[in-house]
Symmetry: C2
Subunit: 429 residues, 2 copies
Amino acid sequence: MEKEKSMAEITRKMKADSFRMASLSEEVRNRILRAVKETLLENREEIFTENRKDLEQAKSDNLPDPVIKRLKFDEHKLASVAEGIDQLIGLSDPLNRKLMDRELDEGLRLVRTTCPIGVIGIIFESRPDALVQISTLCIKSGNCVVLKGGSETRNTNRILYELISRAAIENGAPEGCMHQAQAHSEIDELLNCYGSVDLIIPRGSNSFVQYIMNHTKIPVMGHADGICHIYVDKDADVDMAVKIITDAKIQYTAACNAAETLLVNRQIAKEALPKIAKDLRAHNVLLRGTKEVSELIECQEMKEEEFRTEYLDLIISVKLVDDVDEAIAHINRYGSHHTDAIITNDHETAERFLRLVDSAGCYVNCSTRFSDGFRYGFGAEVGISTSKLHARGPVGLEGLTTYKYLLYGSGQTVGEYADGQKQFHFKDL
Amino acid sequence: MEKEKSMAEITRKMKADSFRMASLSEEVRNRILRAVKETLLENREEIFTENRKDLEQAKSDNLPDPVIKRLKFDEHKLASVAEGIDQLIGLSDPLNRKLMDRELDEGLRLVRTTCPIGVIGIIFESRPDALVQISTLCIKSGNCVVLKGGSETRNTNRILYELISRAAIENGAPEGCMHQAQAHSEIDELLNCYGSVDLIIPRGSNSFVQYIMNHTKIPVMGHADGICHIYVDKDADVDMAVKIITDAKIQYTAACNAAETLLVNRQIAKEALPKIAKDLRAHNVLLRGTKEVSELIECQEMKEEEFRTEYLDLIISVKLVDDVDEAIAHINRYGSHHTDAIITNDHETAERFLRLVDSAGCYVNCSTRFSDGFRYGFGAEVGISTSKLHARGPVGLEGLTTYKYLLYGSGQTVGEYADGQKQFHFKDL
């Protein structure tokens, strides 16, 4: 039946239902999560069967092995997904938290309390476990959600969605609590639902996220590119630098938090660069650098403007700088405000870097790859935000909430305060 | 010199300077605020002279009296502006506040810390004290700001800007800390500065704010319309309802938080409506209502779709509803998510209203006019936001900050955690 409705109709209905979704108690939301976990475990065979269809299709479509590996949903993935739901149930309620409780005057009390954002549209890549993670985060935070997963996991997503939404509705969620978009054309329809959809979270390639941002009036949370830098200061421990740079480049090359650019202080370059280059080459990384760099190590020469490149591949850009300030200026100009690291043993230089680099993550002496909801201890994430408004960095439960101000009065009018009959006394409770 | 530069050049320079602005210590920012206060007091005669020019122009342009009154900047306004700066100096620092401090593993510490948003463009109405309030809020929160005030206060704004920016720069702020746009055409130029301007805050009419929202890729914080409701429940104290409704309608008719629509429970309508109507009429308010309402009190008949109207005038829309749920549904559908109030003595009904109404301010037994930064005890506000992302409701210092994640390591790589050599232990410090 739903398939005959337009996305506009579906999201309008979700909007109307979102207030009921927002008012579910913590007990009901956790009961739903327990039911979701149980139904996934009970229907494992059906899920695996559907997943095999996707895997066969992927093989006959000659998709690359790493992609096929990510599509797989087996006992191991199911167990980790179930464990994730248990963790989510254990997290404290993100809703109805008092962020402020202030007596403005006798009998006039202002409370700032957290509440869900409302209706969220999430467009994500081809990993079936992402659907479970996203939908359970939305349940815990009281949000309605439109899910659009990758077409390569069509069959797995469909059965997962059916099981999860049925468990949610049977346990107290309103009918419009979630919807699965299946056709690619539904993405453009979703982008037009300004007024009924409160937030879009796109996960995917740079050009895809740019497209979303340019084609909707709905606020978009996420990041387009991840041009992450590592700056090796003159006071760096060179062995540590070698280890961190190689990890940040090769541990997961396609990740947004992998390093793309290496900045090296001129005073340490002669000593450090050959060691760094040797280790990177041993891991098949191609080095590209300015003319000056090419005089110290063998590398492909590159131009200044190319420092805006996100390779997502075994390639790294290298440049020399005079000091931490030149490194900061380069990062703020060419970077994507995602995650950037300094390697130094000098405390003051490190603090200057942390204060002045304008990125969601500013690191000292560790790999940029740590920028991730799980590694930050958030349980799970719906994405990483490079926006400066609302949520920044990895976005977990907290980023899926907003707040409202409640004012409890006993007949007060503003006129009484304007003409001096009454006065505010502002007492935090 | 600045006038020859384009807005794009000016904001690029501001962006480059914004990192220095962000790193000013609390001591320096408060020193600047003290210098701003002193220079305004010392140069009072020059300010009053410039203000008289604006007032004469306004009179010869035949501007209405209430507008002319707002343009006036005299000893009284100067004293209140100086008091506001003193209060701002006394407020605790909104920057470098630790929002989280977590040990991920031994020697790997994650800190979430507040920082300025960067470069903010604020377009505001014709009140010279607004320029002082906005620029000092930006100084305290470490933001660079482009100011565009109303043309009616051109001369007063120019002298205020010159005094404030000189005091800021002489006391340690970077040159690009603030800029005053003077020509109306500069607004469109400003809207094109995506990448160097982080946030636009427009204050003004509904159509003006809509225009801004539709013509920029830069995030916009604020509100277009303010269609605020008061719902009189069956368990309302009728005398209290009369008093609150009249205040919310007439205390400042042109304000965004003035009431535009009255919803009355059918069970109490026969008793309450005539009393409410009588008091409103005594204050020259024109009543408009549905056919059903016109059978109870004398009023102009109106259609359902007209409930989306923001009058900003001595006019109010009236409708009857069955219960609190119908009132909530009406408010969420026709309202502007700004501020809405319920009048009731029933605690449960009140809580249901507060939980389910999707507005920045949800009030019980008091006037919608309380929705304001000063009345909330924020000291001052840059505007009121109906957005659900970032800041909602009156926006003070806190809404002008964002946060970043700092990660302090000692050589950690993600590979060590991925292959099980090391494990996270997540300990909040």
